[in-house]
Amino acid sequence: MRIGSLRNTFVCNKGLTIPEAIRKLFDVNVAQESPLLKNKANSLVRNGLIEVEKEARVQRSEVTLCPGQEISLHNALLLNALFPDPKDVKRIFLDTQFRLQCAELAIDVLKNRNSLLGQAYQSRATEDLANCLMDPQRDLRAEYLPNPFSTLPQVILGEQTNLLHVLLAQAASLDPADSFLLAYLKGDWKAAERLSSQVSTGSPELLMLKSEVDRKLAEAHEFNNLLNFFRKE
C-alpha cells in the first residue's frame, strides 16, 4: 500500500533496472558473467549520460532506466567496447567533432584491419556501425547502433585488456596467415611452400588454405618429375 502511493509520485513510468536492461539488450547476465559491464553501465549513469530514476525504498533504493534510455545504454556500452573510458563515450554523444574522430579510429581498427582473412569474414554490422558513427545525423539516443559483436568484448576480455588494444596489437603485426594467403594469391609458390611448412595449427580457414597449397605443390612436383622422366635419354 505504501509502495503504491510512493510510485504515484514519480514522473516517468517504471523502466527496467540496469541489469535487466543489459540482459535484454545483450543477453548478458551481469551478476554472473560480467560485473565489469555493470560497473561500466553505472559509470555511464554517474557521469550523466544515462538517465535513471531512483525509487526510494525501505530496504534499498531501486534504480531504473528512464523511458527511452535503453537505446542510449545500448549504444553507450557498444561504444564502450572500443573506448574504455566512460568520459570518452559521453563525449561521443555530445561532441560531434570528437565523434567523427572516434569514428575514424573505429574504422581503422574494425574495418581496415590488416587481416585479410579477418576482412573476408567480417560481419556487415561492423561496417554499418562505423558508418553510423560517421554520420552525425544518426541520433545515438534514438537509434540502436548495429552490434558487430556476438558477445560484448567487455565480457570476454575483462578488466585488464580492451578491444582497442587487442585490435591495435593485431594490426601492428601482419598476421602470418595473411602473408600465406597473399603468397598464394600472388602465385608466389616458393613463399607459399615455405609458409605452408610453418603452419601446423590454426583456424579451419587457414588449414583449408594450407591443404589447398600443399595439394597444388604436390601436383607441381609430380609434373616436374614427369618432365624429368621425358627428358631422360
Binding site: G187, W189, K190, K216, E219, A220, H221, F223, N224, L227, F230, R231, E233
Partner: protein
C-alpha cells in the same frame, strides 16, 4: 599397321576432348597442330629449366597435353621407322627443329604431319 592402330587410338582420345569441338576435327595430318604442339613442348622444358617445379604453374592443361602429343608422335615415329631413319637422337632435338619451322598457310596446307616427321626426324 601397328602405327595406324596407335594413331587411331590417339585420334579417338583427342577427339573426345571438347576443346577441339569448335575447330576442325582433329587430324593426324594436321602439320600446323604438330608444329604448335612441339613448340609447346619446347616451351615447357625451357620454363622448367628456368623455374624448376614452378613450370607447372606456367603451363596450362592444354599446353601440357599438346606437348605430350608432340613427344608421343615423335617417339612413336622414330620407333617405327628406326630402320628407315636410323637411330634417333631423342625426341627433344626433333621437337626443336619442328617447332622452329615457319611455314606459310599454303605450305602448311601442302605439307602433312607425316611429311614433316620424315623430313625433320629422319635427317639425322
Amino acid at each position: 599397321m601397328k602405327a595406324s592402330c596407335l594413331f587411331l587410338l590417339i585420334t579417338l582420345f583427342l577427339a573426345s576432348n571438347s576443346a577441339f569441338s569448335k575447330e576442325a576435327p582433329f587430324q593426324l595430318k594436321d602439320s600446323a597442330f604438330l608444329i604448335q604442339s612441339c613448340g609447346e613442348a619446347i616451351e615447357i622444358f625451357a620454363s622448367q629449366e628456368k623455374t624448376g617445379y614452378l613450370a607447372a604453374y606456367r603451363t596450362s592443361l592444354s599446353e601440357a597435353m599438346r606437348a605430350g602429343y608432340c613427344i608421343g608422335v615423335i617417339e612413336h615415329f622414330t620407333e617405327v621407322y628406326v630402320e628407315y631413319c636410323g637411330r634417333s637422337s631423342g625426341w627433344f632435338e626433333h621437337a626443336k627443329s619442328i617447332a622452329s619451322l615457319e611455314l606459310t598457310q599454303q605450305e602448311l596446307a601442302q605439307t602433312d604431319a607425316h611429311r614433316l616427321l620424315e623430313e625433320y626426324v629422319c635427317v639425322q
